[in-house]
Symmetry: C2
Subunit: 319 residues, 2 copies
């Protein structure tokens, strides 16, 4: 998917590793564990692609920004894993599992700090720095609000869209917009790539959420219906609460903090018996079409194709 920036992504790994290196061996060990445990690098890839599309593209100039975006994502996942008491991520032990919660909270802070140190050195200008700081602020706000609203089934689909915007779409939007800006695109082109990023972000999260309904434990290593069990409502569930003959039963399960595994299974069955998953899939496809239509006309063809492939990839995603 990312052939056009394959070399850049190899370089990125070196930058990421260097960013989490410190004179103290314990710190470098934790940092490298985090970086080498993988990740799809979709955020820095979008930033690099966007920068490539601009008239002032310079790899050395955009690389620290791309790395900072991935570091912010990494730090945020480290804190999420403490919150969810998760043992593994991407098949590797989480920091909280391999070390402990203390180390995980502090190393998340450390990785956030290294992201800001990295961009501070570049002097990108106010809007880039403000964009990154707002990104971290809004990510945190989004998660606090989600945490405050679990088991309070809002049937309002607007609440759902607002939530996944803060959780995912704002992030991918920032990656595209800041990359485009550092690449020297016009204001209008930056805005169009921001729209693209927003739309694929919405599609990505909707797809992620519907996979949670569809997948079996064999496929993912975690039981299906994880969101339901955590009291988090996703699009298929909201749809089912509108159309299912068992809507009331579903609502009573998903608002119950004492939900048993059997109740969660029953809720899943109710959702699966409706067109909830299809409605969500259609909505994701709609966002992907919007994404493609948002791409600026002036993009070089190889970069345009890469952006289109990203959208297709999200549409076909079943992992």
């Amino acid at each position: 998917m990312f052939d056009v920036i394959k070399g850049d992504l190899a370089q990125l790994e070196e930058h990421l590793l260097q960013a989490v290196t410190a004179p103290e061996p314990d710190i470098t060990e934790i940092g490298s564990h985090l970086i080498t445990s993988g990740g799809k690098r979709i955020r820095p890839a979008l930033c690099l692609l966007a920068a490539h599309g601009g008239p002032k593209f310079e790899l050395a100039r955009v690389m620290p920004l791309a790395a900072a975006l991935e570091l912010i994502h990494t730090a945020s996942l480290v804190h999420d894993d403490v919150i969810d008491a998760a043992d593994t991520r991407r098949g590797a032990a989480t920091v909280n599992a391999r070390w402990n919660n203390q180390v995980a909270i502090l190393s998340g802070d450390f990785v956030f700090a290294r992201a800001f140190a990295m961009v501070a050195e570049q002097g990108y200008g106010k809007s880039v720095l403000k964009g990154l700081a707002d990104l971290v602020g809004n990510l945190s706000i989004g998660e606090i609000i989600q945490d405050r609203n679990v088991y309070k089934a809002s049937r309002d689909v607007a609440d759902y869209y607002a939530r996944i915007k803060k959780k995912t779409a704002d992030f991918l939007e920032t990656c595209c917009a800041l990359g485009a800006e550092v690449g020297g695109m016009t204001q209008e082109e930056v805005a169009r790539l921001a729209d693209y990023g927003h739309a694929i972000g919405m599609a990505f999260q909707i797809t992620d959420d519907l996979l949670d309904i569809l997948e079996t434990e064999e496929q993912t290593g975690k039981p299906a219906g994880n969101d339901i069990r955590q009291g988090i409502l996703t699009l298929p569930v909201i749809r089912a609460m509108e159309v299912s003959p068992d809507a009331e039963e579903l609502a009573s399960i998903v608002t119950n903090p004492e939900m048993t595994p059997e109740m969660a299974e029953r809720a899943l069955a109710i959702v699966r018996a409706t067109d909830g998953v299809d409605v969500a899939r259609d909505k994701a496809d709609e966002y992907l079409a919007t994404a493609k239509a948002s791409l600026p006309a002036a993009l070089p063809s190889d970069i345009r194709e890469a952006f289109e492939l990203v959208a297709d990839f999200i549409g076909e995603r079943n992992f």
Copy 2:
């Protein structure tokens, strides 16, 4: 102590409150709880004093920096309280106690982000931003290293100084140096105020640590010997391990993660029977003398006096 910046500090409170305000009422509630729960504001005060001492002092210019320094301190305390499972701080409920650990981890991230957003808007230049990012990074490293080394009694006093430098002295040094820089002082004056900040930071932490040995539960609301019980060695304990006839017994207690309250009491008694506290107090006084001697000659007399009062205040501290 801070008469010369009394008006500034009143304004600071408004800036702090505004920084943690968000469209979401839940977020503003958590943010204001954090800001209105108090704190001595020593970090922004040092930054403001240093800026006042420079030829290019402009209150509106330095205020966001002063606020950002206090926000970083606040965020770091929110995460510390999760790590220590603390219920109260400065007499108010901690975020983890009043809400929960999830909210506390995320609101710490939010407050860090708002600190960086605040300085991003000002365009202070690379060195200020880099200084703040490195500050957060080094604070986190310092705490991770401390966490990895509890109950591993190093008798090496150099380890102790390195630890309190990262924990406290680097922070106060950064407050003085960045304030001086934004106030337009010369490189040499910035360096001298940085030395002042480092020295009062070392003195402050040594005093804090010796109060943990001296104070009774009635005075502080928490049992004395808190550090010992957490497996953290401070200067009086290290001294006692050098000179006490019961040094071996002390060493065996402070390296025991299963330490009982009775064992901690016995360790305290061994330390109190030596000159450990006096040695630590002398060391703090030495740092305070260095601090005063470091003040740049060109400081206006009211600012110089304020800096000297801060040093005296730390020396007389028994709270």
